[in-house]
Symmetry: C2
Subunit: 461 residues, 2 copies
């Protein structure tokens, strides 16, 4: 009997496990997971903290029994893999509740160890502070909520980091009645997603919603009294609070991969080939600990995003089950919502593209979501970046109080996947109806603006 | 001085006029338009009828003075072109108000005559009936509204045709307090947009909104008393009403093109090449009277849709102004909203593809708009059609009570434009955030289902 062992029961690991079992019922599929949960939606944690999601169980895509009973997967919860022997194809494990240890043989191994917060490395003092939180797992959401709900209405939450986790937390903690301050080390919010002028629109929205935003303020330390943080210290002064959430910085869990001598890539994440094989025979890796190829630039990138992790799991499972599958990569789409504002980007920013040696043409515009005569239309800011030399699309950013912000970016993302051009965008046949879109959609206007510089005639690629 | 004369001041004509003038300020640009309006949004008529739009003027993208004063275009409103001499490059015109006639020389001519309702050809009796309406121009919306508002609340509107105009009218006349019946000759609603099972979802929604739907019932005649229609006669019996709107059938206005001997294409619309030139020297044609190439099949198609018309105008204007531009075609995206239901499709249906000789693979699924744990998610029905032999995407349809229905179709539309495959769709990096999309978007699930049949390995095209 062939045995596939998966280390890590998150989205990527369970996608791989499910896929193998679906294609090869005769394979023995074992998943080791340190927590009591599998198939968990870590992205839901801010919504658990903010009571949008009532219970932790709702954040599981399926309960553990589903995988055992319906899919025939051997789940070993609360169990840690302590050592892997890649040549002997065995591993040792330890049950974290009972202390029981054991050894298991495997034919194929899938590493799906995920990523972890860098917060306790950066500020070791916070490990001892009862009112400072960073995301370790699903229960972090519950712990933040229960602490917040014990505080008086109007108590002060300080969020360190204005990336997507920080800004989702800002909305959710406001919803709990807290007064929220967001502190960002870099000069503007959403620094990995948006250009400064688009970030300014988001910052303005946060302020309108009563959130204080302090940028360009790296946190030096947490000041504490009696096991509780009282303030953070920054160049821009001390910022006091009753509850602190650190939403900055994660790193890939590469320890097991390093232990077996698997290659670590230039990004610091686990290297894999297009079949998601590590450099060690019959050992695969998937999910947030793994790097992959950016389709736009061909470079290696580390993108710990759930859709990438899920696709990796699916493809690795297919390969192990004997299918001829490859993971083609991603283009770097990311999105989030904070209060009513939706933020999305894909591909490269103009600055990133220039640093990589591209000559770039940029179109920026303000458009609307509906025909001008339909009430309730919403403004959309859209920026599209193209390669001057070839007319190839390189990236886009958008912000606005409408979910169509994400979808305009999704159209560009799909075009980036196939290395499409400005002319392909112009002739993309975006549907029109007065209550759904303007006749000249911002996407098509962006293409038209780029064609002013690049010419109307499509160039052969 | 070079003179460009445009016949027809709708979206396509004004796009061409504006583009020429923008690139060549030294050109004389003259637009002949029979109505008092230019740059009108005919798609807004149902919303004018239903009081969503208060005044006809709101349906003009710009007032006529804008084109005269800001863009330097010579507008001849209420003026009809009576004869064109293509060899002498002159035309004669007549002012419909003053009766004044004149002659004008031209260097380039652009035909933008639009399309018209076939209703009075099919049922000549309706021309004399004061309570039967079909769309002739913007004022049709005002006339329907003023007639409807004179009737008692709860009076009965009968709409002939369950295409997008009919179903938009159904919503808008319901909003005015009328009891609405929609009568469709074909076996289901939205017959040119949706497969029968998806049409059934829309029909169910209409019924929930209090609209009576009668399908498979071609209208034989209108029964009238004293200049007012009382009922329509169908195979399924007589259907009585107080107000009738005919929303079926339009045909391209090809008379002027035929008069100058311009080629009429296989679709019955005016033939043009990729530079939007008719078969007559220096005569161009754009908009709803003109056929073009379908990017998916390479066939000639007639698609009287506003985005296509606008792009044609833009490209024809660019060409006349000396730019090297081409109109690449469209893929056949159409969309509409009726009540809370959004309908969209692009490319071919499975039936259409089979008739054209394709072997097709179809994925149909029900998905959701948000992560499972976020309240308020909406169900989305999505069907994607692919070519079994090559893996190329061929088309898609979607329905659901969310504007993201259109946007999922827009992603497929953009991929159709570049002849992309099922594997390109799978690796399209659709953004994920819990309140905005599920981690496995219905689009990606559709690709995954198709890959079960087509294999996981991307095929070279």
């Amino acid at each position: 009997m062939t045995r596939v062992v998966i280390i890590g029961g998150g989205a990527a690991g369970m996608a791989a496990a499910s896929r193998v079992k679906r294609l090869r019922k005769d394979f023995d599929v074992v998943v080791f997971e340190r927590t009591p949960y599998v198939s968990f939606a870590l992205c839901g944690i801010p919504y658990l903290a903010g009571c949008t999601v009532k219970t932790l169980d709702e954040l599981l895509y399926y309960p553990p029994e589903f995988f055992v009973k319906k899919r025939g997967i051997d789940l070993r919860l609360r169990t840690k893999v302590t050592k892997i022997d890649p040549s002997g194809k065995t591993l040792t494990y330890k049950n974290l509740e009972t202390g029981e240890e054991g050894e298991l043989e495997w034919d194929y191994l899938v590493l799906a160890p995920g990523a972890r917060s860098r917060a306790p490395e950066i500020w070791p003092e916070i490990k001892e502070l009862e009112n400072v939180f960073y995301i370790t797992h699903l229960d972090s959401g519950e712990r933040i909520r229960s602490y917040a709900l014990k505080l008086k209405h109007g108590s002060k939450a300080v969020i360190v980091g204005a990336g997507y986790v920080g800004l989702e937390m800002a909305e959710n903690l406001s919803n709990l009645g807290m007064k929220v301050t967001v502190v960002e080390a870099l000069p503007h919010v959403a620094p990995r997603t948006l250009d400064p002028d688009y970030a300014e629109i988001v910052e303005q929205h946060l302020k309108e919603k009563g959130v204080e935003v302090i940028t360009g303020a790296p946190v030096k330390e947490f000041k504490a009294v009696n096991g509780k943080a009282k303030a953070i210290v920054t160049d821009k002064g001390e910022i006091e609070g009753d509850l602190f959430v650190v939403g900055v910085g994660i790193r890939p869990n590469t320890e097991l991969a390093q232990q077996i001598g698997a290659r670590i890539g230039e990004t610091g994440a686990i290297w894999v080939d297009e079949k998601l094989r590590t450099s060690v025979k019959d050992v695969y890796a998937v999910g947030d600990a793994v790097e992959h190829t950016d389709i736009v630039t061909g470079r290696r990138v580390w993108r710990p995003f759930a859709p990438v992790a899920n696709k990796m799991g699916y493809i690795a499972g297919s390969v192990i089950a004997g299918r001829d599958a490859v993971f083609m990569g991603s283009v770097g789409t990311s999105t989030f919502k904070t209060f009513d504002m939706v933020v999305a980007r894909t591909g490269l920013s103009a600055e990133e593209a220039k640093k990589l040696g591209y000559n770039v043409e940029v179109a920026s515009l303000e458009g609307y979501t509906k025909a001008h005569y339909i009430p309730g239309r919403t403004k959309v800011y859209l920026r599209v970046i193209a390669d001057t030399d070839t007319g190839r699309l390189l990236g886009a950013q958008s912000v606005g109080a409408t979910e169509t912000v994400l979808w305009r970016i999704n159209v560009i993302a799909s075009l980036l996947t196939v290395k499409a051009t400005v002319w392909d965008l112009f002739f993309s046949d975006i549907g029109y109806a007065p209550p759904l879109a303007p006749v000249w959609d911002p996407l098509i206007i962006a293409a038209r603006l780029l064609m002013r510089k690049l010419g109307e005639r499509p160039r052969k690629q």
